[in-house]
């Protein structure tokens, strides 16, 4: 299990205890925690509805071409923007803090 804090669009903190052995990604975590993340494209980096800002200093996997490409078409993109669907939850993400990006729709 790892601890992950998700800050929603209203600024509310959601501390979550998450299994790290279930092949979950951050988009799926948000959906299962009933946070307002649509995950429209199903997790293939093609909609940016799971965009989040990574606030903690974790070392994350590098962005794939597909993720970079999608972020190029997204709005409210910051240097610490990532697509939640592209980040698998592993033990190294313990104490990760992310903030959901504004809903562009």
């Amino acid at each position: 299990m790892v601890n992950i804090t998700i800050i929603d669009r209203e600024g509310k903190h959601h501390p979550l205890e998450v299994p790290s052995d279930m092949n979950l990604n951050l988009m799926e975590l948000c959906k299962s925690a009933e946070l307002p993340v649509e995950g429209t494209c199903g997790g293939i980096a093609l909609c940016a509805s799971c965009q989040c800002y990574v606030l903690s200093a974790h070392e994350l996997p590098e962005k794939s071409e597909a993720e970079e490409e999608m972020l190029d078409q997204a709005f409210f993109v910051q240097p610490n923007s990532r697509l939640g669907c592209q980040i698998q939850i592993t033990d190294s993400l313990d104490n990760l803090v992310i903030h959901l990006a504004p809903d562009a729709n």
């Binding site: 649509e38 429209t40 494209c41 199903g42 293939i44 093609l46 909609c47 970079e68 490409e69 190029d72 078409q73 997204a74 709005f75 409210f76 993109v77 504004p102 562009a104 729709n105």
Partner: protein, 350 residues
């Protein structure tokens, strides 16, 4: 007015397969979709992605699945209204429906099957507070007729293929083209990126990177775009037209106002029976519907379509009873009379 038995809203895989299941029951279909080609998400978002959970196909590209479905439904010769969103629906006294698409085209049918997926695909609009005020007054989300921009000053924003390609194309048409992108890197075909670099170096395209358009100004028509650099500096760029190109995203759209029971952007249906909605005669199948235990999978949509058309049949033919027959037994007979069936064994005397 187009008349048919079943009007299908959405030409994605589930909408297309509905044509097949209806065809087996000799019901004619007409399909409306906002996109200019059939296929929905499979064609628009991920045509080159493999799908691994279509029964009988260990692996198939989304685009190929659509091609196969189009071939499979060909015998049932569906009508299409493509490139037009279904806007409004009216229920007539006899319980049938008239659906009006974006151009005002009327479609009449006793049954409507909504297979709208996540909704219709519409251009993503940048979050600029007053952008709506300038729509059709200098802000275009789609380039329909390049001639419109002849000798005009154009500002394009976006870093993907279409922003790049239109900037290159309009360079020879417009008086001035400015391309604005959030980052320094552009993505696109290598020759397009190369061409942009050459035109930028020679000053023929004004490329502004690490920047985005944050405000628009003008009286009756757009006059200037306000561009903010990543370092906070603001720049004013005169423009007759601003063309933001950030791809497409799905929206449930007008279907949400058709009087259907909606829950979390999906249409509630009766999954214990017929995938019917709260309005008799309107069914919803595939990703657009919701019910307890709903799985948003193409294969589930196929099942829902097969069930829904059985009930559609009894609405369309209240006095007849349909007996389901397997295609392995009966083959399929197209609306042109051509029959496909198991080849009969041939006996040769020797």
């Amino acid at each position: 007015m187009i008349k048919t038995d079943i009007l299908i809203i959405g030409a994605g895989p589930v909408g297309l397969f509905t044509v097949f299941e209806a065809g087996l029951m000799r019901l004619k279909c007409h399909v409306i979709d906002a996109l200019p080609v059939p296929g929905g998400q499979c064609a628009e978002i991920y045509p080159k992605k493999p799908i691994y959970d279509i029964p009988g196909f260990p692996e198939i590209l989304a685009g190929d699945l659509i091609k196969n479905l189009e071939q499979q439904i060909k015998p049932f010769n569906p009508g299409y209204t493509l490139g037009e969103r279904a806007e409004t629906i009216n229920r007539l006294d006899d319980g049938s429906f008239v659906v009006t698409s974006a151009s005002g085209l009327l479609h009449h049918a006793p049954v409507v099957v909504i297979a709208g997926g996540l909704g219709s695909f519409e251009p993503r609009k940048p979050p600029i507070a007053n952008i709506a005020d300038f729509e059709n007054k200098g802000v275009d989300y789609i380039v329909r007729d390049p001639e419109k921009y002849r000798n005009k000053r154009i500002v394009i924003s976006g870093g993907g293929d279409s922003a790049l390609d239109w900037a290159l194309f309009l360079e020879s048409v417009a008086a001035k083209v400015t391309l604005i992108h959030r980052r320094r890197e552009f993505r696109g075909a290598p020759e397009s990126v190369q061409k942009l670099a050459v035109l930028a170096a020679s000053g023929r395209i004004n490329v502004v990177t690490d920047a985005e358009v944050v405000d628009l100004k003008g009286d009756a028509h757009l006059e200037t775009t306000i561009v903010q650099r990543i370092n906070g500096n603001m720049e004013v760029i005169s423009a007759d037209y601003f063309i933001p190109l950030f791809g497409l995203s799905p929206k449930l759209g007008p279907i949400g106002d058709w009087g259907l029971d909606i829950e979390k952007n999906a249409i509630k249906v009766n999954n214990a029976l017929d995938y019917g909605t709260n309005i008799p005669g309107i069914f919803a199948v595939g990703d657009v519907n919701t019910y307890p235990g709903k799985l948003k999978l193409i294969l589930c949509g196929f099942h829902e379509a097969a069930v829904a058309v059985q009930f559609a049949y009894s609405i369309i033919n209240p006095d007849k009873k349909f007996v389901m027959k397997y295609t392995t037994v009966n083959g399929i007979t197209g609306f042109d009379g051509v029959k496909k069936e198991t080849k009969k064994a041939e006996y040769i005397s020797i």
